[in-house]
Point group: C2
Chain length 209, copies 2
């Protein structure tokens, strides 16, 4: 029985790695050809497996799309969290902007972000997934803005914090749009305009110790 259990654990691990292989391939294809432009055949070829086999690991193409979105959103939140656990907010945002431009691996891809957002306006399942992640991100921003002064924050009242939290999201998402649209744009130019804007909104580096 121990042998059986070991085997099934091993099989489970292999299945998981297969799922990831499929998701990696799907992400590449979705970025290059769009959700609807990418065919299962193309994804299979990219993943270096047969089309039929993918149905052992995912119920449908739609399930793959949803899995991609979940993975991307999780990654996005992790990246945004990095922004305010460390110093120099504007510089960190600029750094992320450059990553969005190049579409580096492991980063929320800007084109995919647009694709997802457009799709969410008509696919309720995607809208729900995005909405959840969206709310989490905004709540995090608000918490940051409402921190008390003794913690190095401004201690903003709730309504002001909410307004600025949303606006912050808009600015970030606007930067993503720009990164997708203009991968050659020199991020440095944004820097000097971004800094006073973030200061105004209360997103500053924590005070030095």
């Amino acid at each position: 029985m121990s042998a059986v259990r070991r085997r099934s654990a091993q099989a489970e691990a292999r299945a998981e790695s297969q799922r990831e292989r499929i998701l990696d391939a799907a992400q590449k294809c979705f970025v290059e050809q769009g959700f609807h432009g990418a065919s299962m055949a193309a994804i299979a070829e990219t993943a270096d497996m047969s089309a039929g086999l993918m149905y052992r690991y995912f119920e449908s193409k739609n399930a793959i799309m949803l899995a991609i979105i979940a993975r991307e959103l999780e990654g996005k939140r992790a990246k945004i969290e990095e922004l305010y656990t460390d110093a120099d907010f504007p510089a960190k945002v600029l750094e992320k902007f450059r990553l969005w431009q190049t579409g580096s691996a492991g980063v929320m891809n800007a084109a995919l972000f647009l694709e997802m957002s457009a799709e969410a306006t008509r696919a309720p399942e995607m809208a729900r997934a995005i909405r959840t992640s969206d709310t989490l991100t905004r709540t995090d921003f608000e918490r940051w803005l409402r921190r008390g002064r003794e913690e190095g924050g401004l201690g903003l009242p709730e309504d002001v914090a909410r307004a600025r939290g949303v606006l912050m999201q808009c600015v970030i998402e606007g930067l993503v749009v720009r990164a997708a649209r203009d991968p050659e744009f020199d991020a440095e130019i944004l820097g000097e305009a971004l800094e006073p804007l973030f200061r105004l909104m209360g997103f500053e580096s924590p005070a030095p110790p």
Copy 2:
């Protein structure tokens, strides 16, 4: 010959109205089902004509997509121009935000904007069209920011104006993303955060006479 010319002019007018009927239907379908999800049959039905007839007025589905984009971008620029030919910039932006949320006719549709932006990352023709409109919009913003003091402006130097012009675009586009994602969101909340932000960036109402 006058009869011939009159006839051809009349025919031309009719052809133009047919083209517009197709574009209106296509826009509706694209918004509801996406560029690739909307079929020619669906567009034809919405336009209340046969599928075949559309090919008398447009070479292909792709040509329809490009025409839609051109029309949307032209409208977008006109709407943005309204922003600074009149008083109270932040209030006007909020008003546009609400229109994006409801997807009112005649206004650049938010979902379509996302769809277009995503498509542009892989279709060079669309990228070119969008890039052109994009540059025009930014140039307009920059001109506004560089206006001399005697004209009620700040007379900002070129590099600062460029940085703020791009950032302004990011904020606007971020608002579009938000409008698409959250049609229920109360725009009023944004108002109080938006006003100091625009003031900081130099986008103010013209001084009263």
